[in-house]
């Protein structure tokens, strides 16, 4: 198709980068926010604004809650298509009980899986989950949406688009393209080392944008590559579900071997049995970890085949001190508390996989590294955004000559995925503070309303971007950029103000108390407002001198990729 390798890579980088760049903006931005997902949750769910807690006592606090738990109506409805015939109302055969916490969680997530006798896939279990206060066992209402961990975070890997799992596939493909864009970008960038520190903001928009694109792409190249790559590895089971399709027989055979090898029963015995003290098992697990020089807290507690003679309890360590997502799992016989198995040290391949997934999923405790991750993510956003801007700048005169509207479309989409996306996120936070704590009868659940607000705000931002894009067809700046920057400069502080008004947690209070989840959020919102205001002012100045700049630009117009 092309005369040489470099040209083919340039074509690929430009066109695939353009199309998938819009998806990647969302992935990188919400991925960056996800580093502090639990802190965003604290801001969105004020009742959860207390300090992180360790895993509470199973025997005294968790067990009574689990015993009373049943799947909700929504859980049952969602499972219905996967069962033959009508669904039961009560579920008494428990496949699993689980509790999960990290060093950043004040609240505890617990879940239970129940056997469904008429399930189409005989192994499929019906799951339900709850959020509880580990200090007293109070259950949080279903509809306080954890905007960080249950909306922004899943958005970055699935676009919250669950129909046919299409969201996962789109993000997966975008990730592959990210890798391709990085490699092709390096191939295209002739002065890789010479221009490592080069950014010339005073030159033409085209030159300075390309400089910034190269800078943010190159300095964080290992980061960008590793995150796209490890993201794919984490979801390998979705993208190449070979073990559950072509090699399913091999997989099932292995599962039986493994159950025999590990001594952890695959199925229920059908004989009822009590559950011994899980707290004693946890203590024993902690003792064994300490003995191995790996002292730590419990991150994940799981019971399997609950109430059955084959039941077992698995205790996993919270991985705060290393990158690798290890568990050092210790498994106990549920009815007696005897140790059935200590997970052996990881094999070489297991270690590599744990490192790769741990690098991405960040369970470690290291505040500087987390902030550096956010920096990397935002650098990725700048790289993509400057890519769009460069695309438009380079071609808009050409499109004007052809009388085409393409530059307008790309530019409007760029506004939508840069400032528009920020406005949608901030809008959701504002909605979160404005909605009453308990919504009136007949309204949709509070969390659902917040989600509508997010998408609606984004759509409005997009409409605005398109409606205002006329000047781009005359090779001038789209005023929507300035409008939306100004909007952000107003909305972000409004969110901070609303937090103060509705919860009393203003910045002076949160900083003096050292409650950083909320202080950090408020400060980040204020910084966003400041940067947006500076950007708006800079762009306005630019529009005013545009006619002068146009003459200079013609000289720099044919900037080669270098």
């Amino acid at each position: 198709m092309f005369q040489n390798f470099r040209l083919s890579m340039a074509w690929l980088h430009t066109w695939f980068g353009l199309v998938l760049g819009f998806v990647l903006m969302a992935v990188f931005f919400f991925g960056a926010l996800s580093v502090f997902d639990r802190e965003i949750d604290r801001w969105a769910v004020p009742e959860s604004r207390f300090d992180p807690q360790p895993m509470p006592s199973f025997d005294n606090l968790l067990r009574p809650i689990f015993e009373k738990m049943q799947p909700t109506k929504t859980d049952i409805e969602q499972f219905a298509p996967f069962a033959k015939g009508p669904m039961q109302e009560r579920y008494d055969t428990v496949v699993t009980w689980g509790a999960y916490t990290t060093h950043r969680d004040p609240i505890l997530n617990i879940f239970a899986g129940y056997e469904v006798p008429n399930a189409i896939e005989h192994d499929a279990a019906l799951f339900t989950s709850r959020t509880i206060d580990p200090r007293d066992g109070k259950i949080f209402p279903d509809d306080s949406l954890k905007i960080g961990s249950r909306f922004f975070y899943p958005l970055h890997y699935s676009l919250n688009f669950h129909w046919m799992s299409l969201g996962y596939w789109i993000v997966g493909f975008a990730s592959l393209i990210m890798l391709a864009a990085l490699v092709s970008g390096v191939v295209m960038h002739r002065k890789f080392f010479r221009e490592l520190f080069t950014f010339r903001p005073k030159k033409s928009t085209q030159r300075s944008t390309l400089d910034l694109h190269n800078l943010t792409g190159v300095v964080a190249l290992p980061f960008h590559f590793f995150f796209a790559f490890t993201g794919l590895v984490i979801f390998a089971g979705i993208y190449f579900p070979i073990s559950h399709t072509q090699l399913e027989k091999l997989h099932d055979q292995h599962e039986l071997h493994e159950a025999a090898e590990t001594g952890l029963p695959h199925d229920r015995a059908g004989v009822a049995a009590p559950i011994a003290s899980v707290d004693a098992m946890v203590a024993e697990a902690k003792r064994r970890w300490a003995e191995r020089g790996m002292g730590g807290d419990v991150g994940f507690l799981a019971l399997r085949h609950v109430g059955d003679a084959n039941g077992y309890v698995s205790v996993y360590r919270a991985g705060t001190d290393r990158i690798a997502l290890t568990g050092e799992g210790i498994h106990f016989k549920a009815s007696t508390g005897e140790v059935l198995r200590e997970d052996p040290p990881s094999t070489a391949v297991e270690s590599v996989n744990e490192f790769l997934t741990g690098l991405h999923l960040q369970h470690f405790r290291h505040w500087m590294l987390r902030w550096l991750y956010v920096l990397g993510g935002l650098a990725g956003c700048v790289c993509i955004a400057t890519g769009f801007i460069f695309f438009v700048e380079k071609r808009k005169r050409q499109y004007v000559k052809q009388g085409s509207q393409n530059a307008r479309v790309v530019d409007a989409l760029a506004v939508t995925t840069v400032t528009g996306m920020l406005i949608a996120a901030v809008g959701m936070l504002i909605g979160n503070r404005l909605l009453p704590v308990t919504v009136p009868e007949g309204w949709p659940p509070r969390g659902d309303i917040e989600i509508y607000i997010f998408w609606a705000t984004w759509v409005v931002a997009m409409a605005h971007a398109f409606l205002r894009s006329g000047p781009v067809a005359q090779a001038r700046l789209n005023p929507a950029w300035i409008d939306q920057c100004l909007a952000l400069a107003v909305l972000a502080p409004a969110a901070v103000l609303l937090n103060w008004i509705t919860t009393g947690d203003h910045l002076v209070k949160t900083i003096s108390e050292g409650y950083w989840p909320v202080a950090g959020m408020d400060l980040s919102l204020l910084v966003t407002a400041g940067l947006s205001f500076v950007a708006a002012r800079h762009l306005r100045r630019k529009t005013q001198t545009e006619s002068v700049a146009a003459t200079n630009d013609i000289e720099d117009a044919e900037v080669q990729h270098g």
Binding site: L196, T198, P201, F223, L369, G376
Partner: protein, 104 residues
Amino acid sequence: MDNLLLTAAAVLCVSGMAWLALAMDVHWKQVNKNPQSAQTVKVLRMLGYAALFVSLVCCLAVDHATMASLVWIMLLAGSALSVALTLSWRPRLLRLFALPFASA
């Protein structure tokens, strides 16, 4: 102590990147009118790499090896970015890194 070491690692990384940037003619000229000698370039590069190396050692003193390497790589990215942005907007701030070589 950990925070001190990590701060030192960050400062060393930025310094290292600053020295490496100044070893390049185009950036040296942004900070200093006099042309640089070949000797200056060599020393700047050595200083730069040395600072980056010591930064890595500081990281390793704080965390488990795999975590330390990751922290260091991310510090490299952040430092390169800061130095580049400083060169774009306030290149004079990097004068202190060129000071010992100003007369060269």
